[in-house]
């Protein structure tokens, strides 16, 4: 079993952080994992993406061109990558920020108003975690204890006060129906 996650959005939305969380969830679930960011001038205020592979087998290419799961947080990334999702794959779309919907019938699209949900719940800037929560729930990779352990690892000691809010955002995403 191999999950190939592609996460994309604007720099500053926490795309790389959400990717790191998914990679740690995979690691603590006993899988092989890799995480590869886009790097270069496009990261300064422009679009940003990140490839995360979680697999039972050693990973060859860490670069993902055709994801099994796509997580998108802006319209340019949605337009660019929605067509690349593998048949029977899934897309997790921040519907507050992404205009339009996909007409693909061979993939499952989840429209999560993550940015609006974050703002309404005092979790500004944590739409990425809400979407990651929904993704983790849908793929059923592992249990909540492992996910919580991964979140604890991802939050640096200096920002320990943010752990509770991030866990709240994660649960909000996991419990979202739609």
């Amino acid at each position: 079993m191999t999950n190939e996650f592609l996460l994309a959005g604007f720099g500053g939305q926490g795309i790389l952080f959400a990717g790191k969380l998914l990679a740690y969830v995979g690691l603590y679930a006993g899988k092989e994992v890799s995480w590869l960011p886009s790097y270069g001038p496009e990261m300064r205020g422009g679009t940003c993406n990140c490839s995360v592979t979680v697999s039972d087998a050693p990973i060859g290419s860490p670069l993902i061109l055709e994801p099994t799961q796509l997580l998108v947080m802006n319209t340019p990334s949605f337009d660019k990558f929605i067509g690349a999702v593998k048949p029977d794959g899934m897309a997790f779309i921040d519907s507050t920020l992404v205009e339009g919907q996909s007409d693909r019938k061979d993939i499952k699209c989840f429209y999560v108003p993550a940015t609006a949900m974050a703002n309404e719940n005092g979790l500004k800037g944590m739409a990425n975690i809400i979407l990651a929560g929904k993704l983790l729930k849908e793929i059923g990779l592992t249990d909540e204890a492992v996910i919580e352990k991964a979140m604890k690892k991802c939050i640096p000691p200096k920002k320990a006060d943010k752990l509770e809010a991030n866990m709240k955002a994660l649960k909000l995403g996991m419990d979202f129906n739609g």
Binding site: K20, A23, Y24, L27, V33, S34, W35, L36, P37, Y39, G40, A57, P58, I59, G60, S61, P62, L63, L65, K153
Partner: protein, 355 residues
């Protein structure tokens, strides 16, 4: 071994350098290797080491020259255009028989090129980088854990043979995160003990040591070079490393190093699933090139395919190593484009690797 955590290849390499007793780092920022310098700028002061951002790549390599002469483990890192700037210093260090470690996290060239992953520095690095008759040790990791392991080995080999050793990586390995673990041993900074040749302070307790690469008498220069080549013969006998997978019954053996080797391995795994007899051979040491190991791996093969992120450089060494005893084909992407395993598989099939 401690618990595994996720680190970028650049960070894992930097941490491993500290743990190998690298006391001094001299560098200058350039994408995609800057995390090495950034990481060491935070860690070095905490473990009693020196981090110094030099005014240029040329200054950094000459600081390494001086530091290596004092017998202390030291390192510099850069990416392709920066390595070109260091070439003069590397030649001097080789000519002065000093151990040091140099990291090249390759990006696309020539010129400023681009910042995406590439393997187009193969000729430059494996042929010594600078001017003159000499070799340097070159190790090519293909995972983040190996980024760490190779730097440790590079320090040991550099000391053992008194010469520069390079870890040749690329932007993909530098930027990606994978699980990595370090042992729990305490960090001990290197000193000049066991290095009787070191030019350090001794209060006239012994005859002074001279470190130099200038020999104006031709026979004397020839003698020093020939002595060095006796050491290279030892290295070529003792140190080559190559890893073969599924090569015993393979019709087509794919040869690739570094991050390209893992892409080739994916392609070969898929080929095997489809009933195609393909294997993969990965040189881990690029100098010394694992000639005997490669010959053993391709013994039963009908054809050899070399895959690189360049227009084809290692392919020459593969042909030489097997003395052109088999047809050798090449597939590469360059300029920062990463070949997809599917493209490599298509090439294997085009070469007749059908079931």
């Amino acid at each position: 071994m401690a618990e595994k955590s996720l680190m970028k290849g650049n960070e894992a390499l930097a941490e491993a350098a500290l743990r190998a007793g690298c006391k001094c780092f001299f560098g200058y920022p350039i994408t995609p290797q800057t995390e090495i310098a950034a990481y060491l700028s935070k860690r070095m002061p905490k473990v009693g080491g020196v981090f110094l951002q030099a005014e240029s790549e040329v200054a950094a390599i000459n600081m390494v020259y001086g530091c290596a002469g004092s017998g202390i483990r030291c390192m510099t890192s850069s990416s392709s255009p920066g390595i070109s700037l260091k070439s003069e210093g590397i030649s001097y260090i080789a000519g002065a028989d000093l151990p040091c470690v140099i990291i090249d996290v390759m990006r696309g060239g020539p010129g400023l090129g681009g910042i995406q992953p590439s393997q187009a520095d193969y000729y430059q690095i494996t042929k010594g980088v600078g001017h003159g008759d000499y070799n340097i040790i070159v190790l090519a990791p293909s995972t983040v854990q190996e980024m760490a392991d190779c730097v440790t080995k590079a320090f040991d080999l550099a000391d053992k043979y008194r010469m520069p050793a390079v870890v040749l990586a690329d932007g993909l390995l530098g930027q990606m995160m994978e699980p990595v673990a370090f042992d729990d041993a305490e960090i001990v900074m290197s000193d000049a003990s066991n290095k009787p040749w070191a030019a350090n302070g001794h209060k006239n307790a012994r005859k002074h040591n001279i470190i130099n690469s200038l020999y104006l008498q031709a026979p004397e220069l020839e003698r020093t070079i020939k002595e060095r080549y006796e050491r290279y013969a030892e290295i070529e006998k003792n140190e080559p490393v190559g890893v073969a997978d599924y090569c015993d019954d393979a019709d087509i053996v794919v040869v690739a190093y570094g991050s390209t080797a893992r892409l080739a391995k994916s392609a070969v795994d898929e080929a095997r699933k489809q009933g195609i007899k393909a294997g993969v051979f990965r040189p881990v040491t690029l100098y010394p090139f694992p000639k005997n190991e490669l010959n053993a791996a391709v013994k039963n093969a009908k054809k050899v395919l070399v895959v690189e992120m360049s227009m084809g450089q290692m392919v020459d060494d593969v042909k030489l190593a097997i003395n052109c005893s088999k047809p050798v084909d090449f597939f590469g992407r360059t300029g920062g484009v990463i070949p997809a395993p599917a493209e490599i598989l298509a090439k294997i099939k085009e070469m007749g690797g059908n079931n």
